[in-house]
């Protein structure tokens, strides 16, 4: 597909200006229309301007030809964020009935150094949709390679979720999440994907079937790094809409106790405990003692209820969010006050 007119970084040679290429001699370039008044004009320069001027010429003429396809490739190379060029490229691809596997090579190449560009990902999805379920594993390999460089790339995750739902390839997804969390247990995107898999995978039986083993998995992750926000939220998500299960699972209160007895950051453990108490948890004597021992100001009456004590501790421990914890304290459910 690429002719001698491809951009220089592919060929390693000097780029020939389009105006000097014989295959373009019949085309008159069209400069950017600056609108009715030239005051807000953009003074384009060099290769970029020339390429865009020729692009406008083929675009306005509606030319669906191999040279037009090559030209969109060059223009995308220079500015992959331009919707119009991508849009026109798809029209040409459809008209010429081009081998879409070759197009995928082009997108692989372009995406490798523009992994946060919306247009490329959209184009990739258009392509995968045309290629169908057979493309699923290849797409998963591709997002895997992007996520290997930036494990939180939002576009890659969106694409991966779309491919899973539209084209399949769920088999190894939970293992993949585990692998990413082994690399970086703080990766919130991987936790989010894990929740996506356990709730949506057609192979795992859904949240109810997965809850028990996931609670163990999450508790282990929390104990390794109690200051990690993501698994604490994930843990709550596992009991979504099931407050009774949440309150009756002793593993949660045990977890809070264990973390509170360590020297690590205890904000998130206190926060979960506060939520449990607000939902009606009856605290054990041991739990009460541990919390009491954390009080800075022992002058307050010790018969204050445990939830209020926790809020006071958090106000001192997390001063950036002092107003949040103070608000929690003043809004405790009346049943527990």
């Amino acid at each position: 597909m690429s002719s001698s007119s491809s951009s220089d970084d592919e060929l390693g040679g000097a780029r020939i200006p389009i105006g000097q290429r014989p295959e373009w001699s019949d085309v008159r370039p069209v400069p950017q229309d600056e609108g009715p008044r030239p005051v807000v004009a953009i003074a384009y320069s060099g290769e970029f301007r020339e390429t865009m001027d020729y692009f406008r010429a083929v675009y306005l003429a509606g030319e669906r030809s191999p040279r037009a396809l090559d030209l969109t490739g060059e223009a995308i190379e220079m500015n992959p964020g331009n919707y119009t060029i991508w849009h026109f490229r798809r029209l040409v691809l459809e008209a010429l009935n081009v081998d879409l596997l070759k197009e995928r090579e082009f997108v692989d190449h372009t995406a490798s150094h523009n992994s946060k560009n919306y247009q490329i990902w959209h184009h990739r999805r258009w392509l995968a949709e045309k290629l169908g379920p057979e493309a699923a594993n290849r797409e998963h390999e591709f997002t895997r390679s992007v996520l290997a460089l930036d494990a939180k790339n939002y576009h890659a995750w969106s694409h991966r979720q779309w491919v899973l739902q539209a084209l399949g390839g769920w088999e190894n997804e939970l293992d993949y999440c585990h692998q990413l969390l082994e690399d970086d247990i703080f990766n919130n995107s991987a936790w989010n994907q894990r929740y996506f898999v356990i709730t949506k995978s057609p192979l795992l039986g859904g949240l109810q079937a997965m809850r028990d083993s996931e609670v163990d998995y999450t508790i282990e992750a929390i104990l390794a790094n109690p200051q990690n926000e993501s698994p604490w939220r994930y843990l709550r998500g596992l009991y979504k809409g099931e407050t009774n299960l949440l309150l009756n699972d002793n593993r949660l209160t045990d977890l809070c106790l264990k973390v509170l007895k360590t020297d690590c950051s205890r904000v998130l453990a206190l926060s979960l405990l506060l939520d449990l108490l607000c939902n009606g948890l009856q605290p054990s004597e041991e739990l009460k003692e541990v919390v009491e021992s954390m009080r800075h100001d022992r002058s307050e009456p010790s018969n204050a209820n445990l939830a209020a004590v926790i809020c006071s501790i958090l106000e001192a421990m997390d001063p950036m969010r002092l107003n949040y914890w103070a608000w929690r304290r003043s809004n405790l459910p009346s049943e527990i006050c």
Binding site: Q32, I42, N82, H122, W126, S158, Y195, E229, R321, Y324
Partner: protein, 314 residues
């Protein structure tokens, strides 16, 4: 930390408008209309919008409209897209020049991009994202044409993107992200549907975004960036939870990202400035009620006096 270099930021924005031939402005060419919205709104918040010739801007904006479909492109002759269309409408409103627009034509274009499930595509190529739900709902509301879409379905789709942490993603299952949260909460606020937001849960997640340096990040374990001073703060404002963060520390973080010599604001201290972050920094300070700035509406992302003019004719 020091003060806001308001006059220098005005000069910086005016100079970007005039500087057309460097690499950055070439790359910005296709989203020039977004850049114009960021720059002009910042000027208005700084009470200096009269420094630009409104007739010039308005006629240029109108020349970006696609006469066939009614939507706006990012520049003259470019394809229409919802995001550019919203920016175009916002710019016209800054200058109170909606009279120049065929409102039904534009709103038909926007409404035509709603899908069966209530979501919106950004353009005819069909990319779906809650960002586009916001663009469509905000735009139609500003044009008094929300009745042209199925608002109930639009809301249902946004709610389907809600996550276990109370936040929202770009599509159902997508990770919560402060930018997407602004879009979803903004669209819900505009349609009077904030009851779908779990304010306390989301408010806690949002205030957890404040980092030790005082700045806000977009997701857990990411670095603070001035742009989230807008996305997070506007969301917290819409759900009445802005007092849950340390506002003084945030203001200090934003002010630390100023280029005190040449004007402009960067993503974090000592980085290069751009119009995008200058807007987010000034808009964030406006939400923090920084003295001298016009107040900004957290849902419509326009100065409050402009929004009042639209809805109350004041």
């Amino acid at each position: 930390m020091g003060e806001l270099e308001a006059e220098k930021h005005v000069q910086y924005i005016l100079s970007v408008e005039k500087r057309k031939d460097d690499f950055e402005s070439l790359l910005m060419e296709h989203l020039r209309i977004n850049g114009a919205y960021w720059g002009l709104t910042t000027l208005d918040l700084l009470r200096k919008i009269e420094a630009v010739d409104s007739d010039e801007v308005v006629s240029w904006v109108m020349s970006c409209q696609d006469q066939d479909c009614g939507g706006f492109g990012g520049n003259v002759g470019h394809d229409a897209h919802l995001h550019y269309t919203l920016s175009a409408v916002q710019i016209l409103l800054l200058f109170d020049r909606l009279d120049i627009l065929d409102i039904d034509k534009v709103s038909d274009y926007v409404a035509g991009l709603q899908n069966e499930d209530g979501s919106f595509s950004g353009d005819i190529w069909g990319e779906v994202d809650t960002r586009f739900s916001y663009c469509a709902i905000c735009c139609l509301s500003l044009l008094h044409r929300l009745d042209k879409i199925n608002a109930e379905k639009a809301v249902d789709y946004i709610v389907s993107c809600k996550n276990l942490d109370g936040g929202f993603g770009s599509i159902p299952g997508g990770e919560s992200h402060s930018g997407q949260i602004f879009c979803c909460v903004g669209a819900l606020a505009i349609t009077g549907s904030l009851h779908h937001v779990d304010r306390d849960l989301l408010g806690w997640w949002l205030c957890e975004r404040q980092c030790k340096d005082g700045g806000l990040n977009g997701r857990p374990e990411k670095l603070a960036d001035v742009c989230y001073s807008w996305w997070v703060l506007s969301s917290l404002t819409m759900i009445d939870r802005v007092h849950w963060i340390d506002r003084e520390k945030l203001a200090a973080f934003i002010l630390n990202c100023q280029d005190r010599e040449n004007g402009g604001i960067s993503d974090r201290p000592d980085n290069a400035v751009d119009v995008f972050h200058t807007y987010f920094g000034v808009a964030g300070l406006s939400l923090l009620e920084y003295p001298g700035l016009k107040p900004i509406d957290p849902a419509y992302a326009l100065p409050v006096d402009v929004v009042n003019r639209i809805f109350f004719g004041k």
